[in-house]
C-alpha cells in the first residue's frame, strides 16, 4: 500500500511539479484548446454550410475534407502537419512548431464540429426556411437569422462535448517537441515522471485536466436540461430565455 501511495501520490513530486503545471502547463493547454476550439468552430460552420449546399462543388469538398480528418488518427494528422509543414513552412513561421500544433488541432476539430453543426441545422424544420424565404429573405439571410441560430442551439451539448475532447487531445502536441516554455500540462507531468520514474506528476497533471473538464461536463447536462424544458409553455420568459428553442416548431 505504501508503494502504491509512493508511486502515484508522492507529495514531494507533486509539490515539485505543481508550480510548473499552473504557471506554464495550464496556460499552454488553454491556449492550445481554446484557440483550436475557436478556429475549429468557425471552420466547422463553413464546412456545415458547404455540406448543406445544393451545389455539388461546395458539398463535395466539404464531404471529402470531413471524411479524411475524421477518419485519420489524431496523432497521425498532428505529426504530418506539425512535422511536415514545419519543414515546408520554415521560411514563413520560423522554427516554432506551436502554431502548427494549433493548426492541426483546429483542422481535426473542424471536421467533427462541422458534422455537429450540419446535423443541428438539418434538424430544423424546413418550414422555417420556407417561411423566411416567403417573407422575402435571401437564402443567406434566412440561414443566418433563422435556421442556423435554431440549429446551433440544439447541438450546444454536443459542441461542448467536442470542446472537452479538444482539451484532452491537446496533449497530442507532445510529439511535436515544443520548447520548455511551450509545454502543456501532460508534457510537464510526463517530463518529471520520466525523470523520476514516479507517476505522481502525471496524477497531478490529471487533476488539473479534471478541473477543466468536469465543469464542462456539467455544463453539458445543464444545457441539456434547459433545452428539454425550454420547449414547454413558460410565460414571461419570452425574451430572456435564450436557450429555449421552440419545441412546437418541429411539427
Amino acid at each position: 500500500m505504501d508503494q502504491f501511495f509512493d508511486t502515484f501520490l508522492n507529495w514531494d513530486y507533486i509539490w515539485q511539479v505543481f508550480p510548473d503545471l499552473l504557471k506554464t502547463g495550464l496556460g499552454n493547454t488553454l491556449i492550445l484548446s481554446v484557440s483550436s476550439a475557436l478556429i475549429g468552430t468557425v471552420l466547422g460552420m463553413v464546412l456545415a454550410v458547404m455540406g448543406l449546399s445544393a451545389k455539388r462543388w461546395l458539398r463535395w469538398p466539404a464531404r471529402v475534407y470531413t471524411d479524411i480528418f475524421r477518419g485519420l488518427p489524431a496523432i497521425l494528422t498532428i505529426l504530418v502537419i506539425g512535422q511536415g509543414l514545419f519543414t515546408l513552412a520554415r521560411g514563413l513561421i520560423g522554427t516554432n512548431p506551436y502554431p502548427l500544433g494549433i493548426l492541426a488541432l483546429s483542422l481535426i476539430a473542424s471536421a467533427y464540429i462541422g458534422e455537429i453543426f450540419r446535423s443541428g441545422i438539418q434538424s430544423v424544420d424546413k418550414g422555417q426556411l420556407e417561411a423566411s424565404r416567403a417573407l422575402g429573405m435571401s437564402y443567406t439571410k434566412a440561414m443566418l437569422l433563422v435556421v442556423i441560430p435554431q440549429g446551433v442551439r440544439r447541438v450546444l451539448p454536443a459542441l461542448v462535448n467536442q470542446f472537452i475532447a479538444l482539451v484532452k487531445d491537446s496533449t497530442l502536441v507532445y510529439f511535436l517537441g515544443f520548447i520548455t516554455s511551450q509545454r502543456e500540462l501532460f508534457r510537464i507531468g510526463q517530463d518529471l515522471a520520466a525523470n523520476t520514474g514516479n507517476q505522481s506528476p502525471l496524477v497531478a497533471a490529471g487533476v488539473v485536466y479534471l478541473v477543466i473538464t468536469i465543469p464542462l461536463t456539467h455544463l453539458v447536462n445543464f444545457i441539456d436540461k434547459r433545452l428539454q424544458t425550454g420547449g414547454k409553455v413558460r410565460p414571461g420568459l419570452g425574451q430572456s430565455n435564450e436557450l429555449s428553442a421552440g419545441g412546437v416548431m418541429g411539427q
Binding site: 416567403a134 420547449g231 416548431m249
Partner: protein, 247 residues
C-alpha cells in the same frame, strides 16, 4: 381589424406545369384572381393545390408556364422581389421558434423592408394589435395556442404589406374551436380588398367569402366558377363525387 389602405394586385398563372421526377403534379393550370378578389382552391389531397399556391411566390419554380402580378410577368424576375409582394400563411404557422412573437415580425421588417429598429417595432405592435394579440408580444411562439400562433403568422405576413396573400390550409392544423377565429380574420382581409388565394378544406368559408372557387383534381383545374355554381350546380362527375364526400 383596421381599414388601413391596401395596395393589391391581380395575380395570374398561365399553363403552369410542375413535375417531381416522373410524377406530374401540375399539368397545365390557368388561374386568375383579379385585384381585390378572393379565390378558393378546393380538391382532394394530392391534387396539386399546395404546389399551385407555392408557384405564386415561387417557393416552387414551375417547369413551364407564366406568372403575372398586376398584369406583368414575374416568372423570370428576382424571386425575393416577387415574395416581397406576395405574403404566405402556412398550415403549420412556421413562426421562428427562437424569437419572441414581436421579433417574429420585427425580423423580416428589418432584414427585408429595412426599417429601423424603432419603426419595425412600431409596425409589429400595430399588426399584433390588429389580430388581437398585442399583449403576447414578449412571449415565445411556443407559449401560444395554435390559433394565436396562426394570428401572429398572419400579422407577420401583413406587416410586409403584400399585394397578394396566399393561405395554404391555414386552419387544417388547428383545434376545431380555433378555426372560426382565423377564418373570420381572413374574411376581414378579403373585405379590405386584399387579393387572396386560399387553399382550404373549409367549404363554408369558400362558399361565403370567395368570389370564385376552383376545383382541382390530378394536377388540373377541373371546374371553376362562383361559389353558387360550384356548390349548387357542379357539372363534372369528379366534382359531384368530391362534394358528396365533403359536404
Amino acid at each position: 381589424m383596421t381599414t388601413a389602405a391596401v395596395r393589391s394586385s391581380s395575380v395570374e398563372l398561365r399553363d403552369i406545369h410542375v413535375s417531381f421526377g416522373t410524377l406530374e403534379v401540375l399539368r397545365g393550370v390557368d388561374l386568375k384572381v383579379p385585384s381585390g378578389g378572393t379565390t378558393c382552391v378546393i380538391g382532394p389531397s394530392g391534387s396539386g393545390k399546395s404546389t399551385l399556391l407555392r408557384c405564386v411566390n415561387r417557393l416552387q419554380e414551375p417547369d413551364r408556364g407564366d406568372l403575372l402580378l398586376d398584369g406583368e410577368s414575374v416568372i423570370t424576375a428576382d424571386p425575393d422581389g416577387v415574395r416581397r409582394r406576395v405574403g404566405m400563411v402556412f398550415q403549420h404557422f412556421n413562426l421562428f421558434g427562437h424569437r419572441s412573437v414581436l421579433d417574429n415580425i420585427v425580423l423580416p421588417l428589418r432584414s427585408v423592408r429595412r426599417l429601423s429598429k424603432e419603426d419595425a417595432a412600431e409596425v409589429a405592435r400595430e399588426r399584433l394589435a390588429e389580430v388581437g394579440l398585442a399583449d403576447k408580444a414578449p412571449y415565445r411562439p411556443s407559449a401560444l395556442s395554435g390559433g394565436q400562433q396562426q394570428r401572429v403568422a398572419i400579422a407577420r405576413a401583413l406587416a410586409m404589406e403584400p399585394e397578394v396573400m396566399l393561405f395554404d390550409e391555414a386552419t387544417s392544423a388547428l383545434d376545431p374551436e380555433l378555426v372560426k377565429g382565423i377564418l373570420d380574420l381572413m374574411a376581414g382581409l378579403a373585405s379590405r380588398g386584399l387579393t387572396l388565394l386560399v387553399v382550404t378544406h373549409e367549404m363554408g368559408f369558400a362558399r361565403s367569402v370567395a368570389d370564385e372557387v376552383a376545383f382541382m383534381d390530378a394536377g388540373k383545374i377541373v371546374e371553376h366558377g362562383t361559389p353558387d355554381r360550384i356548390f349548387d350546380e357542379p357539372e363534372s362527375p369528379r366534382l359531384q363525387q368530391f362534394l358528396s364526400q365533403v359536404l
